[in-house]
């Protein structure tokens, strides 16, 4: 098993939805003792990316009704819902990861930390994030550096 992977999820052209992508870009720019990946969807590709790692950190945008820029640190169980929008398009992150634990228990990470950043705007096609989310991205980058340092 490889040590750890940080995965950023988001659409780089869709306002605050790009937060996870930007986090990984900034981590890569500063160097990180950990594998990094960017995916633009939460389909089974995410499961493929975490398989084979001892630990995984996933960063995604969320829209849960919190203050824009809020950061949530959750587990797979926290975001898994049995009635989820399970489909070829809108399969959820929770379902993807839970499916991985059902089918590939020996290959899935012992720990997955999921950092969610509450969005403000995700309706317009632009690469400009809101100031609230930009601040949250900086905070998440710092937090992940600390988490990775503690792992290695």
């Amino acid at each position: 098993m490889k040590k750890c992977v940080v995965i950023g999820i988001g659409n780089p052209y869709l306002q605050d939805d790009r937060a996870g992508v930007v986090v990984v870009e900034q981590l890569e720019q500063g160097g990180l003792a950990c594998q990094t990946e960017v995916v633009y969807t939460v389909g089974f590709e995410v499961m493929d990316k975490v398989r084979g790692y001892e630990r995984a950190i996933i960063v995604d945008a969320c829209k849960l009704g919190n203050e824009p820029g809020s950061i949530l640190d959750v587990s797979v169980d926290d975001i898994f819902t049995t009635h989820a929008l399970v489909n070829s398009h809108a399969i959820t992150l929770g379902t993807t990861l839970k499916t991985g634990y059902v089918c590939f228990p020996e290959e899935m990470p012992a720990e997955i930390r999921i950092l969610l950043i509450e969005v403000k705007e995700i309706k317009e096609f632009t690469q400009q994030m809101s100031s609230e989310v930009e601040r949250a991205v900086a905070e998440v980058v710092a937090r992940i550096r600390g988490m990775v340092a503690a792992m290695t």
Partner: protein, 488 residues
């Protein structure tokens, strides 16, 4: 009149809703599928360098990324007046067929099969991919997901990125394949053929051997008599990456064939005030006749079932066997039974896997000649492909420097808009009687649009609270809320 709303629709891309109107006796008077979201990609692309468009439009959708990428890449060939050399074209085809395998397998296992394997009236909490794995066993689920991931590896190896590829260049393909990589893809492709065979066996065991399900598949409640459009090669066989578009009417007569910009002679789009999604129709068959089926209609469908109806045969041996069984089962052509979309999709999965294997064994695939350099910019390009969900058209106009000045995208779900409305109305009429609306019945209605695997082009995937995946509101004849049903 009572009104039933299913909003948002479970298990499809983007935001839409179904509204079913009941008469005073509780029977279905009318039904509509509405798209309540507007993405506006055609406007967004204006001002963008054409060579950047494939990388950008691949983000239209996190799932359909390979199809918009491929269609716009082909259009960029036209914009710059250049065609790829044989190796460049074959790499594109290999990439695209791998995308077919991974996309079709997700559609079938996450969307289509749960209705049959777990059961159409099962609790929605179980009628999903986790419920499916629980039903078929983790070992089978693991094997399907493992083999599907090999298709994604091919997609990534050739495209440069796992989700949103970057290898497109006007006139070719930037990634050259080494012999070592070719051998790897060949080995993976052999496993993909196995995935196709396994998928057809699952369909056979679960659906074809089940009399109840076969009554659904071959019954009138899921039968929509419209015309069809798909793409054929020079031998009238199925093809996905490139070919000639063939249009037939609801009785199977060939309306005509076209290529490139000629699509404007065959397709018109009707706008309705109650939805953002347009209604394309066959203009060769006259002016807009409304959302009607049967002889004389000029609405049409695209996608796996449409392709089974317009082609003479498949272009690979294993898929051809299943193609023949498919048509022998239904008898008359064209096949109008929409649940057959799932069967057609499984056949295409096998076909695309066989194509991957065939292309990986082509000696020319490792040629270093993958790009013909553009030397001019005629400024107009049309890219038409058969996306997994159906014919996809990308049409671009640019200035002399290749900057996009106008764009037109017609996607599969748009082609299928009118048939989807017909299918939903028909199923609703069959299953909702005298105001009796159960959760299971509503899933039967949803089953009418799932075969089309709608993509409303919502690339957003943010984690939501997951509190309202399916909500049904029933209104009385005065418009007041009569009843609310939820699946959570």
């Amino acid at each position: 009149m009572k009104k039933i709303e299913i909003n948002p629709i479970t298990r499809l891309e983007g935001h839409g809703k179904i509204a079913i109107f009941l008469d005073d006796n509780g029977n279905v008077d009318d039904a509509f599928f509405q798209t309540v979201e507007f993405r506006g990609f055609e406007k967004f692309l204006q001002g963008m360098p054409m060579e950047e468009v494939p990388r950008t439009v691949s983000t239209v959708c996190g799932v359909c990324r390979g199809v918009h990428f491929t269609a716009s890449m082909k259009a960029s060939d036209g914009v710059f007046g250049v065609t790829p050399p044989p190796a460049g074209r074959k790499l594109r085809e290999l990439f695209f067929n791998a995308h077919y395998v991974e996309d079709h397998s997700v559609i079938l296992y996450a969307l289509g099969f749960p209705d049959f394997v777990v059961g159409p009236e099962a609790n929605p909490a179980e009628r999903n991919v986790v419920g499916l794995i629980n039903a078929v066993g983790a070992a089978t689920g693991k094997e399907v997901l493992r083999r599907r991931s090999l298709a994604v590896k091919i997609f990534e190896m050739l495209g440069g990125k796992p989700n949103h590829p970057v290898a497109a260049i006007p006139g070719g393909w930037s990634k050259q394949l080494t012999e070592e990589e070719r051998k790897q893809i060949e080995a993976w492709s052999e496993e993909l053929v196995g995935l196709g065979e396994l998928t057809l066996k699952v369909f056979d065991d679960v659906v074809l051997q089940n009399d109840t399900y076969m009554q659904l598949v071959t019954g009138d409640m899921y039968k929509v008599e419209v015309g069809y459009m798909g793409t054929v090669d020079d031998q009238d066989r199925i093809t996905y990456y490139d070919g000639t578009q063939k249009v037939i009417d609801s009785q199977g007569a060939v309306v005509g064939t076209f290529k490139g910009k000629e699509y404007l002679d065959f397709i018109s789009e009707r706008v309705q005030p109650w939805t953002y999604l347009k209604f394309p129709y066959q203009k060769k068959l006259g002016a807009w006749k409304g959302i009607v089926e049967g002889p004389g209609t000029n609405i049409y469908s695209v996608g796996p079932l449409a392709r089974m109806n317009v082609v003479k045969s498949m272009d690979t041996p294993k898929a051809q066997e299943h193609f023949e069984k498919f048509h022998a089962t239904f008898g008359a052509r064209p096949v109008h039974h929409i649940l057959a979309y799932h069967w057609a999709r499984a056949i295409e999965l096998l076909n695309a896997a066989e194509k991957c294997l065939e292309l990986s064994r082509d000696p020319e695939i490792t040629s270093k000649e993958t790009w013909n350099k553009p030397t001019s910019c005629p400024g107009e390009g049309v890219g038409i492909i058969e996306a997994p969900r159906g014919t996809l058209i990308h049409h671009y106009l640019t200035d002399g420097k290749g900057i996009v000045t106008d764009a037109n995208l017609i996607v599969a779900t748009t082609h299928n808009n009118a048939p989807i409305n017909l299918a939903v109305k028909k199923a609703a009429k069959h299953f909702i009687k005298n105001g009796n609306v159960s959760q299971g019945m509503l899933n039967y209605v949803e089953m009418a649009f799932r075969p089309y695997d709608l993509c409303l082009a919502c690339a957003t995937h943010t984690v939501t609270g997951g509190q309202s995946p399916l909500e049904v509101e029933i209104f009385d004849s005065n418009g007041g809320l009569y009843k609310t049903l939820k699946n959570f």
